[in-house]
């Protein structure tokens, strides 16, 4: 799946191969300059969530991550055991995990009272 995503304050995420709300994979997009990134840095990452517990499988913190409020095209592909994430057409993550072989896809955000999340997803495409 792919989408043009953006957030002014926190993160905009994809969900892949979800088994339920607590198990599956998340692709996180955290742009630079948000309140959240001040503490955690800007990044694109792939997380595995199992029974609510999250673990990072791969993380990219390099060039090309846009600023807060600017949009970026994120493409996430899960094919067999391989996961690939592209940021504006450039592969930034490619890794392998065999925990969940299938599941549903989705969009995800996470916000808190003192640090809300506002995100946009457009040009949503499924392959």
């Amino acid at each position: 799946m792919s989408a043009t995503v953006g957030t002014t304050n926190r993160d905009a995420d994809f969900a892949l191969r979800m088994q339920d709300a607590d198990s599956g994979y998340y692709v996180l997009f955290v742009p630079n300059g948000t309140p959240w990134s001040k503490d955690n840095g800007c990044l694109v990452s792939l997380l595995r969530k199992t029974a609510g517990e999250e673990s990072t499988l791969a993380m990219y913190r390099g060039r090309g991550i846009s600023e807060a409020g600017q949009s970026a095209k994120i493409t996430a592909t899960a094919k067999g055991p391989w996961f690939e994430v592209q940021l504006n057409g450039v592969t930034v993550i490619r890794t392998k995990d065999t925990t969940y072989a299938s599941g549903f896809i989705g969009l995800r955000i996470y916000g808190q009272e003192d640090m809300p999340c506002d995100a946009t997803f457009s040009k949503l495409m499924f392959y």
Partner: protein
């Protein structure tokens, strides 16, 4: 019989946009294309992608091919070309990944760093000016001492040492820009220790024999590689205009592949079969072609039906 059927099916697809006709062509030839792709790519996932690309090309060229009585030979050739192109794309992708990975690698030392800088080392050295590159190659790839480097460069030992020092500083800067902080001394040590490894014993003799015969006994793949390399060299000479043209072609090809990959179109509204798995429906809204999401209450998950 089958050849005639191919042309009929192609014509139906080209002239009437018959998806059934095209599906019949795919069913008939997919094994051939996949097998050729698999042999060339050596990876089932890659072979699938190549197969898909070949049939996309067939769809685009159906109008030109509709009079062909047998498209199997065309498919074979196109599969090979596509697989070759795929290999080059994979190489580029791998390089980008290495670059991306290097962004996150900081302040590591010698032995840890080699596997990460190795893919970019030759590019870094190639980017040096000719005298600097010669100095680095002689000193660290060939293991010459400073006096020998100086002689080869037509300079004194001191001058050779200064040139190597400056070249190492340029390499340090190259890697630093990609997130790897190393001292020139570590770079020198790592390159010396790892840049050249022994080739298989029989390889040298074989290569010498084949090269002496100007490639007459070389394998098909080697000849193709040579041809590709020669083309690349010609391209390099042609420089800006052709490179710009190639970029346009590449961009157009990529866009087409994305669109045709599974004939997808952007979602025009919130997907009907989706539901909110966690959070509140009101946190997700559709406006001006965008899905807007807002949360102050933790996890919000909008997901497809399973």
């Amino acid at each position: 019989m089958e050849a005639t059927d191919d042309s009929v099916l192609l014509r139906r697809y080209a002239e009437n946009n018959s998806n059934e006709a095209f599906a019949a062509l795919v069913t008939r030839h997919v094994n051939l294309v996949y097998s050729v792709a698999l042999r060339q790519a050596g990876n089932p996932h890659h072979a699938e992608e190549i197969t898909q690309a070949v049939f996309i090309i067939l769809a685009r060229k159906a109008g030109q091919l509709r009079h062909d009585k047998a498209i199997s030979s065309w498919l074979f050739q196109t599969t090979r070309l596509t697989a070759n192109n795929f290999s080059r794309s994979e190489t580029r992708r791998h390089r980008r990944e290495e670059e991306a990975y290097m962004q996150s690698v900081l302040n590591e030392t010698g032995s840890d760093v080699w596997p990460k800088i190795a893919p970019l080392l030759d590019a870094a050295v190639a980017g040096l000016r000719e005298p600097d590159r010669r100095a680095i190659v002689l000193r660290f790839y060939e293991g010459r001492n400073l006096r020998e480097v100086g002689l080869a460069l037509g300079a004194s030992e001191d001058a050779a040492e200064k040139r190597i020092s400056r070249a190492l500083e340029k390499l340090r800067s190259f890697f630093s820009r990609r997130g790897v902080s190393l001292t020139p001394a570590i770079i020198a040590g790592v390159i010396s220790a790892n840049s050249v490894q022994a080739a298989p014993t029989a390889l040298g003799a074989y290569v010498a024999t084949v090269a002496a015969a100007k490639g007459v006994a070389a394998s098909g793949s080697t000849l193709t590689l040579i041809k590709g390399t020669l083309k690349l060299m010609a391209w390099t000479k042609a420089k800006t205009a052709m490179i710009a043209g190639a970029c346009v072609l590449l961009t157009a090809g990529t866009a087409t592949t994305v669109i045709l990959y599974s004939q997808v179109k952007p979602v025009q509204s919130l997907p009907k079969n989706w539901s909110v798995l966690r959070g509140d429906v009101g946190q997700w809204t559709w406006a001006n072609g965008k899905i807007n999401a807002h949360s102050t209450t933790g996890d919000c998950l909008l997901a497809s039906a399973r």
